[in-house]
Symmetry: C2
DNA sequence: TTAATTTATTTTGATAATCAAATTATATTT
DNA sequence: AAATATAATTTGATTATCAAAATAAATTAA
């Protein structure tokens, strides 16, 4: 097996496993009534931000209809609140409740913990190479597939 | 921003985009009747391999029932064939058809393209260091989060 | 060698995430 | 004022998924 195949194989496995880890950790934690998708909505709304439905849907690359039902459920569960914009009454503003902020923070802590643990075994030179390679992949995607990054 | 935050940020962005990109490429290509999930089944069955339903489901971390319907659809679309094992008639053997192999190869090309362009700027020594880093991280995740690898 | 148990798969009945298209309400343009 | 455009929701559908029940075959135990 050449190096390209080795890197490809391990990246595929890593990506699959990290998603699994995220889901697993969510399910055993304090906010186990949230799905990964719902957590992504919370992540996107963010702390101290008022977001419109359209902008959030666009960022998450889902339709408005999909976001409407997701937000319905997040409101029912107490993580998000919704109000009409005063300037333009077609627009709906969503923001995190206190509970939503707590969930956001917990998730962020998990991310930090995961990354810090993973990097602990690397020396500075290795860390920098890793960042370089991840950046390259990121740039490659952006250029080649014209993905709308925020 | 320190290295930890840099890696966290870029990982989050990569993860948010990678499945979308994969899906996008799939949808504009020759095998646009395949979903990402279905492609993952094809990827797991592999070329020149006969796989049982159980082993494939375990690898993909989905239930046998889920795999049964996925394979039903892949057979209907002409990518997979299914037969009973002769040694143990409870066991169902699945393998790729010629069309399945073609889809597998096309998907592999996408992955290779991704990795090659990411590795382009590294020399062999750096490539090997990267493989070591990724392997270490992979093993680390396995130990820390007790993920059921194959 | 029958009966009980285990194993491999499929079926069934349910839920979550998603989309496209239709609808509703409001704003903007002609 | 009418026509058009925009923001969000609703509707009706599909796909991916699971847990639990059912089916069929193999293995173990009585």
């Amino acid at each position: 097996m050449n190096n390209h195949d080795a890197v490809n194989e391990i990246l595929v496995r890593l990506f699959a496993n990290i998603l699994d880890i995220e889901e697993k950790c969510l399910k055993i934690g304090e906010f186990s009534d949230l799905s990964i998708s719902e957590m992504h909505v919370i992540e996107n709304i963010g702390i101290n931000r008022e977001r419109t439905m359209s902008d959030t849907a666009k960022d998450l690359r889902i339709t408005s209809g999909t976001l409407t039902t997701a937000v319905d459920n997040l409101i029912r569960k107490g993580y998000v609140e919704r109000k009409r914009s005063i300037e333009d009454r077609r627009v709906v503003i969503i923001k995190l409740t206190e509970k939503g902020v707590a969930a956001y923070s917990a998730h962020e802590d998990f991310h930090k913990d995961m990354v810090i643990s993973a990097l602990q075994q690397l020396d500075t030179k290795e860390e920098e190479l890793l960042i370089k390679i991840l950046t390259d992949i990121d740039v490659f995607f952006k250029q080649k597939y014209d993905i709308g990054y925020k």
